[in-house]
């Protein structure tokens, strides 16, 4: 599954971006360049799906793909998929419907929190229902621990009833997984006298690369989060675990601040001065905002004629490379303007 994701990224980037841009994409780096890559090349489902990926691990997986002749290196730090790679990708896409479950751009900022809450709550409830109050929490991420503590206060009156509901909702969603996939997800859960498996153990048990384990778990989380959000009345118990943040735009805190002042009528220059940031940084924020908020208008930053001219050039050249596009346009058109137009197009 993980190698299919890499192959898909390499295919879609059409040799226009370096391999490290894939790494940043999977890690979910909040830079306007990475966001632009995700959007412009149609890779937004993979944005931020592998936050614990290390550079070494990533490079290692590329060399494996190369050894298996699924990709080759072009002269200049560029990767290309081979014919064998194309076939392998095709097969994987047909065989792994879970690939389509990934929805990184929209849920990457809430998926981890949702999962941590759920894991800890299942462990807590499972133990408390057996009157076992001495157990060591599966993780100690402060925010989720606090949340679970609060949640318990609300649920303790009818813990049993709530747990039955939660079970039924989870069961119905896991039923939509392929059975080995549901096995993997459930084996990760910790409950009363049952400690979940580590990713390493899951990898060994199902004979999968450890990266695939991570991807299967992520795809399941994204699937559950989206199902729950789209059918809120069907999944009231699980809905409670969705962090508030989902209702906000997936912006970095800093970009959100910029957006706040923008809405108050401040100019880019004024915000830069106010926040003691470079103008470039504020412009990056604007691009981030354009990507995530479809109601945001770029008209005050790019004149209509310029916008049309930029779009014509992009079409003619059939590329997403900024440098190439800029070289074919008059000097009066800045990089910022081109990026804004691209952001609007790929919203």
């Amino acid at each position: 599954m993980y190698s299919a994701i890499l192959l898909k990224c390499i295919t879609k980037l059409q040799n226009e971006r370096s391999p490290s841009s894939i790494y940043h994409l999977l890690k979910g780096k909040r830079s306007s360049q990475t966001i632009q890559d995700a959007k412009a090349y149609g890779l937004s489902p993979f944005f931020g799906i592998y936050k614990t990926l290390s550079k070494k691990q990533f490079q290692n997986s590329l060399s494996i793909l190369q050894k298996e002749n699924l990709i080759t290196w072009l002269d200049d730090d560029q990767l290309m998929i081979t014919e064998a790679g194309r076939i392998s990708l095709q097969t994987d896409m047909e065989e792994s419907p879970e690939l389509d479950w990934l929805d990184g751009f929209n849920v990457h900022h809430i998926a981890p929190q949702f999962w941590l809450r759920l894991l800890l709550w299942i462990q807590t409830g499972s133990n408390l229902l057996k009157d076992e109050s001495h157990f060591i929490p599966v993780h100690d991420q402060w925010e989720s621990v606090d949340w679970v503590r609060q949640f318990y206060r609300n649920k303790k009156k009818d813990l049993e009833g709530h747990f039955t509901n939660l079970y039924q909702e989870l069961y119905s969603l896991l039923k939509l997984h392929r059975s080995f996939h549901a096995d993997i997800v459930v084996s990760r859960l910790t409950g009363y006298k049952k400690i979940g498996l580590s990713k390493q153990q899951i990898a060994e048990k199902w004979k999968l690369p450890i990266e695939d384990v991570e991807m299967y778990i992520q795809s399941s989380i994204h699937f559950i989060v989206n199902k729950v959000c789209q059918n809120q009345s069907e999944f009231p118990a699980l809905l409670a675990f969705i962090p508030e943040k989902l209702k906000q735009l997936p912006l970095t805190d800093s970009a959100a601040k910029t957006y706040y002042w923008l809405k108050q009528g401040y100019s880019i220059e004024h915000i830069a001065k106010k926040r003691r940031l470079k103008i470039n940084t504020i412009q990056d924020h604007l691009i981030e905002i354009t990507y995530v908020d479809s109601s945001f208008s770029i008209d005050s930053y790019v004149a209509k004629e310029d916008k049309e001219m930029i779009n014509r050039t992009i079409d003619e050249l059939n590329t997403k490379r900024l440098k190439v596009i800029k070289d074919h346009l008059p000097d009066s058109v800045s990089y910022f303007m081109i990026r804004m137009v691209m952001a609007k197009n790929y919203q």
């Binding site: 599966v138 993780h139 747990f163 069961y171 997800v185 084996s187 006298k193 990713k199 390493q200």
Partner: protein, 514 residues
């Protein structure tokens, strides 16, 4: 402070900690502390050392500070206490981010029990906060770290004496599982507590038999383990001296012993996964753990039957601790050391890496010498010196402590006087050689034990205590033990292969609903 009577203490023990009775040593030490006496307590691993300060901590008006050398150990203790319902506990360590740390400092007075590393105690900001509190009890855990002759040595332990004075001389409790009389003297000397009450308890374990097998290569070690575990599938720990070996042998054993549930554990794994493995072992979901010395700290699994040393431990003390994880429940258990000629090479290499080498030290002094100013902020060059000379944190801490001790660094400033530099350099070289010699000597002490012709039990404990209890089951392979005679209670392994639907039902207790 008032002495609590025995009934009151027992009530507290039962209600707050859920134990029915005190284990050996606990009651006496706790009584001493309530009487305000400074105590040096030597209690073997697994006998509930931490209860000796935890119980008083929650009865005292003021705060109890516990100095602990390992972050993982602290976090483990805090987790366990919280699981028991004690909320006013915290560990201040390097893993906390700024916000978390500020948050704890702001509410420091709300805690009853504060764990921190000796390095953290030297943090002026933290210490300032600490000084505003009333400290009732100051605990030095793993107190052997204060002595060069202890099996671990941490220079920051040498600074504790001053901290204790600045905190208004609270009652001091120094604890260790293994400390020879020489180390005990050092603890009293370096804490400046010559009148400490000594509470020393025997560390020998009458239910563990000792066995050493001499084989010719590592494959034979693996074969031997496979053979034993095939016939005696018991809860087992296998100790390795490196992460690589730990993973490698665990891989092989999994293939050879298909019916056993085997996993590895070492410090290089993600913290969450480490916790899962540890908990699985405790919860009987695993039979065999291949691990480095990182495992075991704070593990109180009662029914470990067999502890195998695949590699040599660094010295007697760590061997006694690690082997002592077997048979906490008092049932018959075995310690097995597998030895091949030349095995000492690995620990010798580890000894080399622990302190800066003479070459590294020389280079560092040259670097410092090049900064031709009379005074230089430590901060300014520290990172670069560490980076350029590829120092580990422990190596740097050792150097910095020496710089400070020789007054080459004062108030975070280097004083670059050429005479002072030369003296410090020579002093450090001398210490490096001395320290390495001690370590090597301790390693060879263990190797001597491996090769002893006499009774292993007698030989093992004689440096630590006078005499030992007679064995309950078997003594050692030189006296009466062999694996063929050994009949331990064995695991009933029934690995049920069940799909997720059954598992999920069980976790949510929905088994009744079909």
């Amino acid at each position: 402070m008032n002495k609590m009577n025995q009934k009151e203490l027992l009530d507290t023990l039962q209600h707050q900690f859920g134990f029915d009775e005190f284990r050996e040593g606990q009651y006496d030490i706790i009584q001493d502390i309530f009487c305000g006496e400074d105590v040096l307590g030597i209690l073997p691993t697994g006998t509930g050392k931490s209860l000796c300060y935890q119980l008083p901590a929650f009865s005292f008006e003021g705060v109890t500070v516990v100095i602990s050398p390992l972050v993982s150990l602290m976090i483990d203790q805090v987790k366990k206490l919280k699981a028991k319902g004690f909320k006013r506990v915290t560990a201040i360590n390097s893993l906390l981010d700024h916000n978390q740390r500020d948050n704890i400092f702001a509410h420091l007075n709300e805690y009853k029990l504060i764990y921190c590393s000796p390095e953290m105690l030297q943090n002026p900001f933290f210490f300032k906060h600490l000084k505003t509190l009333t400290i009732s009890l100051f605990v030095v855990d793993e107190a052997h770290c204060i002595s060069q002759w202890g099996h671990e040595f941490r220079t920051d332990y040498l600074k504790l004496k001053d901290s204790i004075k600045k905190l208004g001389n609270p009652t001091v409790l120094a604890l260790s599982a293994t400390a020879t009389p020489q180390v005990q003297d050092d603890i009293q000397y370096f804490l400046d507590k010559p009148n400490m009450k000594k509470r020393i308890y025997y560390m020998d374990r009458p239910n563990i038999a000792f066995s050493i097998e001499h084989v010719s290569n590592w494959q034979e070690k693996v074969n031997r383990i496979t053979d034993i575990l095939q016939h005696k599938p018991v809860p087992t720990m296998i100790y390795f001296s490196s992460r690589k070996w730990c993973e490698k042998v665990s891989e092989i054993l999994k293939k050879e012993l298909g019916s056993l549930r085997i996993a590895y554990y070492h410090g290089g794994m993600e913290a969450d996964d480490r916790l899962l493995i540890q908990q699985q072992f405790m919860n009987h979901q695993l039979d065999v753990i291949c691990c480095t010395s990182a495992f075991g700290m704070g593990v109180d699994k009662q029914d470990i039957r067999l502890v195998i040393h695949f590699h040599l431990p660094a010295q007697m003390e760590s061997f006694i601790q690690e082997a002592g994880r077997a048979g906490r429940d008092g049932k018959e258990s075995v310690s097995l050391v597998l030895y091949t000629d030349g095995d000492e090479q690995i620990p010798l290499r580890l000894i080399e890496q622990e302190l800066p080498t003479e070459k590294q030290t020389e280079n560092i002094f040259q670097d410092i010498n090049k900064c031709k100013t009379s005074s230089l902020p430590l901060k300014k060059v520290k990172e670069e010196l560490i980076f350029k000379n590829e120092l580990t944190e422990t190596q740097w801490n050792f150097l910095q402590y020496q710089f400070e001790k020789q007054q080459m660094v004062h108030n975070e400033q280097f004083h670059l006087d050429s005479k002072l530099l030369e003296d410090t350099f020579q002093q450090i070289l001398f210490l490096l050689r001395e320290r390495t010699t001690i370590k090597i000597k301790k390693l060879y002490e263990f190797i001597r034990w491996v090769k002893t012709p006499g009774c292993r039990r007698k030989d093992l404990y004689q440096t630590f205590q006078k005499g030992y209890q007679s064995p309950v089951y078997y003594c050692c392979d030189h006296c009466d033990f062999s694996f063929s005679k050994w009949n331990p209670p064995m695991n009933q392994i029934e690995e049920k292969v069940e799909g997720w639907e059954v598992e999920l039902k069980r976790i949510f207790h929905q088994e009744a609903i079909m």
